[in-house]
Amino acid sequence: MLELNRVTVEARLKAVSLKLPSTGLIGVIGANGAGKSTLLKAIAGQLHDFTGEIFWQDKSLTQFTPRQRRQLLSWLPQSPTIVGRLTVLEILKIGAVNLDLSSQQRQQRIATVVRDFELTLLTQRCYQELSGGEQRRVQLAVCFLNEAPLMLLDEPTSGLDIGHALKLLQDLRSKASQDHLILVAIHDLALAAQFCDQIVLLDEGHLISFGTPNEAMQNQHISSCFGIELEWFCTDNGVAILPFTKPKI
């Protein structure tokens, strides 16, 4: 279980308290500046100026050593960069660092992410020459190298075409069902509603609602956070949303 106790980051996150299960795909949604990235960064240990406490299985995250934390969580920033003209395989090898694995297991882990993110044909290609979506898949692959029980992904679908975005969310969902807690900050409300087990809705640093998509994404919450009205279309194949601005009377 991941427990947040009055997590506050000056001017960006205001006393957010949450209890999340230890498995599941959790979507973090909200307008620009709502605090989605800040919430994920605070959990990932990227911020040092926050107050409040974060517990994983009843142990405060501050009590983990860097190396223990490496085994516990993985973090994908919103816009990561990789410098130098290195091949995808070289990047994965460098990224597979400080994992408590034998070198053979490490090779297997690399082979697994190469397969999962469809990088087989790209391993010898120079990262800088890849398209934006291919680079995103490499970044995700680096992030998945540690098979962490807790994954924090800041807009993992940005830069991915709709096919790869859908596949990624399906993969995340199936991974989440095998004992992983995955938090994704996501802008696409339809994808969030379709794939996430639970939704965290933030507005200006406040927690507005938390629950299943049906509970958390009720129209009055959405319209107060985004300033728009929504019409939902749900079928067995997925969810679509027609957003429209509120007519002024």
Binding site: Q46, G84, I94
Partner: protein
């Protein structure tokens, strides 16, 4: 293809070294016959060559490591202020007359100065490894130590002392013997061991700072060990050959132009490249006929700066096309 280029580099270095040893000694090829020539080769040329190689390795390698860990292509070995700090300590020691019977202690005083500079840098940068803070603190330290050096030169007791100290500051390999090699070789090795143990830490710097932070390194401890290794290298280089500028900046860029970007390979080849450049520059110092021997650091900067500009301009044209 990349490795072909690397092999070419190694071959080039072998030629440079053979040419260097034979400089001005046209009467022999593999080994001289007269005892005078043997003495010149063994007691003057050979230690000078080894010192040039070691210093070149240090400068090239340290330049590459700094450029990687500070995420800054303009970084060079002088950026942390350690080299200026070392130089200041030595100039101060010379000012207070540490020559003659206590001259053997001078290198150790210099090394202590370098380590003290590192300690000061670490405190100024807030004991952290934030690249920007390290650069700012380093620049401030270098400026402060530079002012100290100017002050000592200003107060020099006589023109001869002034000239000797300022020439030493420019960097040179003249009048060095095996005792300098005996001092620098173990320091180079120790620094290399320290830096090599941190190779996975250095490699991980290809990722942005946010991604890098999740890799489970104890960043403070790792950075401090790495900086200690670099300080040993740089101080050792300054006490044995003075402050040689520009090679640490130039060598890694030349290696990148060969298409080598993997941090570990970049560092290793920058060491080879630095050694080749320094030997070549020192050969030039020996060949150019001037009234007094030119200082190595002067030639290095005078040749290195235009070369770097030319290469970068050419590369930009290629990238734009």
């Amino acid at each position: 293809m990349k490795w072909l280029r690397a092999i070419a580099l190694v071959l080039l270095s072998v030629f440079v070294i053979i040419g260097y040893l034979g400089l001005g000694g046209a009467s022999w090829w593999i080994y001289p016959t007269s005892s005078l020539e043997q003495d010149i080769l063994l007691e003057i040329r050979a230690p000078r060559l080894v010192l040039a190689l070691l210093n070149g390795m240090i400068l090239g390698g340290a330049g590459a490591v700094f450029q990687i860990i500070l995420r800054n292509p303009l970084a060079e070995p002088g950026i942390t202020g350690v080299s200026t700090g070392t130089a200041l300590t030595i100039v101060v020691a010379l000012y207070f007359g540490w020559q003659g019977p206590v001259a053997w202690a001078l290198p150790f005083v210099g090394m202590l100065g370098g380590l003290a500079s590192l300690a000061l840098l670490w405190l100024l940068a807030g004991r952290g490894a934030n690249p920007l803070r390290l650069i700012l603190a380093g620049v401030a330290l270098a400026a402060l130590a530079g002012a100290g050096i100017s002050l000592v030169l200003n107060l020099a007791p006589n023109p001869f002392a002034f000239q000797e100290w300022s020439l030493w500051l420019m960097g040179s390999l003249a009048n060095r013997g095996w005792e300098h090699v005996e001092l620098l070789a173990p320091i180079t090795l120790l620094g290399l061991v320290l830096i090599t143990t941190q190779r996975s830490f250095i490699n991980a710097h290809i990722f942005d700072f946010s991604t890098f932070q999740q890799f489970g390194f104890n960043v403070s401890v790792r950075s401090l060990l790495l900086l200690l290794g670099l300080t040993l290298w740089i101080s050792g280089s300054v006490v044995s050959a003075g402050a040689i500028s520009f090679i640490g900046l130039l060598a890694p860029h030349l290696v990148r132009l060969l298409g080598i970007y993997h941090p570990q390979k970049l560092i290793a080849l920058s060491m080879v490249m630095g050694a080749v450049i320094l030997v070549a520059v020192d050969a030039m110092v020996l060949l150019i006929p001037t009234r007094v021997e030119l200082q190595l650091g002067v030639i290095a900067a005078a040749l290195g700066a235009p070369m770097l500009l030319h290469l970068l301009a050419r590369q930009r044209l290629i990238n734009d096309a």
